[in-house]
């Protein structure tokens, strides 16, 4: 083979490989990105139906209910503006899972408007709130941050520990 042909061969081979790899990567990216939403965005219908996404928020006080017979737990995820979504999971809850603390769960909505979680995460430092969750919750869509029971609650600002 002439040197020039050989070089062309190598270039073609390299292009084919890089092309195949980019095709793989872009396909994989399309299917496997999980967006993080706050309850408010979910209730506003911002999440396309049937997609797997991550739901972030605080676990509402006294909302954790366990089944008497099987490993099923239900709890309510809320933001600081009274938007609530019930989460159902059949998995063990993580060590750091606590009411009134932040959590992020991955799964999708069912017909009844409940979030079926495949995985529930609570972050590893008891005082640390994931930055991404802080941002999502801090986004103010509606004014009047009033709690369900009518009491005013503080806006969550950056750096504030919850």
């Amino acid at each position: 083979m002439k040197p020039r042909n050989k070089r062309v061969m190598f270039v073609v081979l390299a292009l084919v490989m890089v092309g195949a790899a980019s095709a793989l990567i872009s396909t994989a990216m399309k299917g496997n990105l999980n967006y993080l939403y706050a309850p408010e965005q979910v209730l506003a219908g911002e999440v396309p139906e049937g997609t797997v996404f991550r739901l972030g928020g605080l676990v509402k006080k006294d909302s954790l209910k366990r089944s008497e017979t099987e490993l099923e737990a239900r709890f309510i995820v809320t933001d600081n503006r009274g938007n609530e979504i019930t989460v159902v999971t059949h998995n063990i809850l993580p060590d750091l899972f606590q009411e009134e603390k932040s959590q992020v769960s991955r799964g999708k909505m069912n017909d009844k408007g409940e979030f079926i979680a495949e995985e529930v995460l609570a972050k590893h430092d008891s005082e640390y709130m994931p930055a991404e969750l802080k941002d999502v919750l801090a986004k103010e869509h509606t004014p009047a941050p009033v709690n369900v029971d009518g009491s005013e609650i503080k806006n969550m600002t950056k750096g504030q520990k919850i």
């Binding site: 083979m1 040197p3 050989k6 061969m9 190598f10 390299a14 490989m17 890089v18 790899a21 793989l24 990567i25 396909t27 994989a28 990216m29 299917g31 496997n32 990105l33 999980n34 967006y35 993080l36 991550r54 366990r66 089944s67 008497e68 017979t69 099987e70 490993l71 059949h90 998995n91 063990i92 809850l93 060590d95 750091l96 972050k123 590893h124 430092d125 008891s126 005082e127 640390y128 994931p130 930055a131 991404e132 941002d135 999502v136």
Partner: protein, 661 residues
């Protein structure tokens, strides 16, 4: 007093590093033998002061000196001494000090084992390492001083994160750092060679054993991290594609590519520019990993909420390193024309495929790790890139890689023919196909094509490697260590591949609710929950469950998964009960109390999970003995030259051509 000595020693080490970074390099360019001769003693001196400094910090932890802020934040007197020592590198400041000490250790090691390296070259290598050290020590002193004192001395320190109070964590970070920092040696050799301008095979031969050793530490460090996550994080996963894991995986993949391209550059004078770029890339990714972990930009189990000033410092350091090395590269690029040519079917081509695939893998991991950051910076939402992305891309790439891997053993340098290679490989190829198809049919619970692929890859690599040893026709005792190392490391890779395949496709996992006396059956094993009792550890209290595991009525083992409470502000900890075995692990983790006598459990049956780490040990062993090969030592004896001669040559009027070694 002792912490001040530590602080002072650190500053002295920095001063020595500055001297080491400037004078030997300058001396090598202006032909001043005295300055060149500074390199070695400076490297030893830097190590000495770093060791003193580090020892002072360890002392503060051992004697519970809570007037030191870092000690008070990360250790308390209730912790066992062993964990008080490992707490030194359990958080940011101490781990960076360890990093800097390891760097000076590598520098001193290069200086010590440098018999055959010409002094001018050595002085440049050590200077580059000195400059890197200056960067890191400044980082420690300016942004994260571990010796800072508290004005109000607390009576008791805070708890070290209980996850980190564990044997795995005593050795995981030092191993990983040895690997990370070790890549700086290859980087320094590449830089030194480019400064000198003589880019032949000699610098590559000196750099090879060092790269091997660094890669060995990286391999073992990553495997230890995976093992630790498996038993200590409590949930039975061995790899999470967590950003911090990715940060250590990327330098490993590039390091693997580098080991192979170094071979080509040394033996065939090909891939010259490529090899240098890989050296730069490997070390840059080590720095990037540090930046990602330490700056707090990532949401990860490892990242501590840390301040952005540190991130900025590392980012600038990273830019300086990459920038200056690429500028140097651009000046030398014309000298890096490869001499050796090779045809399409040749060992060079095989290794080219290896390198291209490994780099595509690195790019894949890098993209998946940084993509959420980019999207967030663009304000386009908060996303996470899940494990399916990585698996989807990495698995097909790996399959191509493994297919070529077996062939690579038999390919000849420069030019080979397909017929000749096929004639050699058909036996292992056929045998591994038989194994891949028949074995799952006979033993496996169900037929799965992915298992066939995994088993094929594993047995093909193993058989090809063994067949290659046989085909060399030499007594196994006369085979060079480098060849043995290569064979063992590749078999290690095969072992890991088989482990990953089998555990990924055949493991069973179930979260269950069990009341005292109830049991659950999985994969032929019966897990009977006998109850939970209180248990008092050294610095924790625990709920300890007793789970009896039987198979067909025969008692296999009893495990005691625990839920530990380390008190104060620390969180609860899950300590899994594991029955480890060569062909399967049984894994029981205790969840929470569910009222009455019921608890939640996570139960796993994990076939062949140990093979993943066994393979890593084999890879490490292979890499290690390859570095011991006689060739590298023989080289040293030949190359000894008196220093005056070299310096004398430097004085010739034409600096452009004179700046060679």
């Amino acid at each position: 007093m002792i912490p001040e000595i530590g602080h002072f020693a650190l500053i002295l080490a920095l001063s020595v590093a500055i001297v080491q970074g400037i004078f030997p390099l300058w001396g090598s360019l202006t032909a001043k033998p005295q300055w060149i001769a500074l390199a070695k003693p400076a490297a030893y001196g830097q190590l000495l002061f770093m060791v003193i400094s580090f020892a002072c910090l360890v002392y503060a932890f051992v004697v519970n000196d809570f007037s030191v802020k870092y000690t008070a934040n990360n250790s308390n007197s209730q912790m066992p001494t062993m964990f008080r020592v490992s707490a030194v590198w359990g958080a940011h400041e101490g781990s960076l000090l360890l990093w800097a000490m390891i760097l000076s250790g590598w520098g001193a090691a290069v200086a010590f084992f440098s018999k055959g390296i010409p002094p001018i070259m050595l002085s440049r290598v050590l200077s580059i390492m000195g400059l890197i050290g200056v960067g890191f020590m400044l980082f420690v002193i300016v942004t994260s001083n571990p010796f800072e004192r508290l004005l109000q001395i607390p009576l008791e320190g805070r708890q070290l994160n209980p996850l980190l109070q564990d044997f795995g964590l005593i050795i995981h970070p030092p191993m990983l750092y040895m690997g990370y920092v070790g890549l700086s040696v290859a980087f320094s050799f590449a830089m030194a060679a480019m400064i000198g301008g003589k880019l032949d095979a000699s610098w590559v031969r000196w750099a090879r054993p060092w790269t091997n050793i660094a890669w060995v530490f990286l391999t073992l460090g990553i495997a230890l991290g995976s093992w630790w996550a498996y038993y200590e994080l409590g949930w039975g996963g061995w790899w999470f594609w967590d950003p911090v894991e990715n940060a250590s995986l990327m330098p490993w993949i590039v390091g693997t590519a580098l080991i192979h391209s170094l071979a080509v550059t040394e033996k065939r004078a090909s891939f010259k520019a490529w090899t240098i770029l890989l050296c730069i890339l490997g070390f840059s990714l080590s720095l990037l990993g540090t930046f990602l972990v330490r700056s707090g930009v990532l949401t990860s189990v490892h990242s501590f909420a840390s301040d952005p000033g540190r991130g900025l410092f590392i980012l600038i350091f990273l830019l300086v390193v990459i920038g200056s090395s690429l500028i140097l590269f651009s000046f030398r690029a014309h000298k890096l024309r490869s001499v050796g040519s090779f045809s399409l079917i040749s060992r060079e081509s095989g290794l080219l495929v290896n390198n291209v695939i490994l780099l595509v893998m690195t790019a894949t991991v890098l993209l998946g790790t940084l993509y959420p950051l980019i999207i967030d910076a663009l304000g386009a939402g908060k996303i996470s890139v899940g494990p399916p992305y990585f698996n989807f891309v990495m698995v097909p790439l790996a399959l191509v890689l493994f297919s070529v891997m077996g062939l690579g053993f038999f390919l000849r340098w420069k030019k080979d023919s397909i017929e000749r290679v096929l004639k050699k490989v058909w036996i292992p190829l056929a045998a591994s196909l038989v194994i891949a198809f028949v074995l799952p049919l006979v033993v496996a619970p169900e037929f799965n094509f992915k298992v066939v692929l995994g088993l094929f890859a594993g047995s093909w690599i193993t058989l090809a490697a063994l067949m290659w040893v046989v085909s060399l026709g030499r007594s196994p005792f006369k085979l060079p260590l480098a060849s043995w190392g290569s064979v063992i490391a590749h078999i290690g890779m095969a072992t890991t591949v088989i482990g990953i395949t089998l555990v990924s496709l055949y493991d069973t996992e179930k979260d269950v609710r069990l009341e005292k006396g109830q049991s659950y059956e999985m994969a032929g094993y019966k897990f009977a929950f006998e109850g939970v009792e209180g248990h008092q550890g050294k610095n924790y209290t625990a709920n300890r469950a007793t789970m009896t595991i039987t198979q067909d009525g025969k008692h296999i083992t009893t495990v005691h998964p625990e839920k530990r409470d380390y008190g104060r502000d620390a969180m609860a900890m899950t300590e899994a009960g594991i029955d480890a075995g060569f062909t399967r692990d049984l894994f029981v983790a205790l969840g929470e109390p569910l009222g009455k006598d019921a608890w939640s459990f996570r139960i796993y049956h994990k076939p062949f999970v140990r093979w993943i780490w066994l393979g890593a040990i084999l890879m490490g062993f292979g890499g290690f003995i390859a570095a011991l090969d006689k060739r590298y030592r023989r080289m040293r004896k030949i190359a000894v030259e008196p220093i005056a001669d070299n310096a004398g040559k430097k004085n010739q009027p034409k600096p452009a051509s004179g700046v060679t070694i």
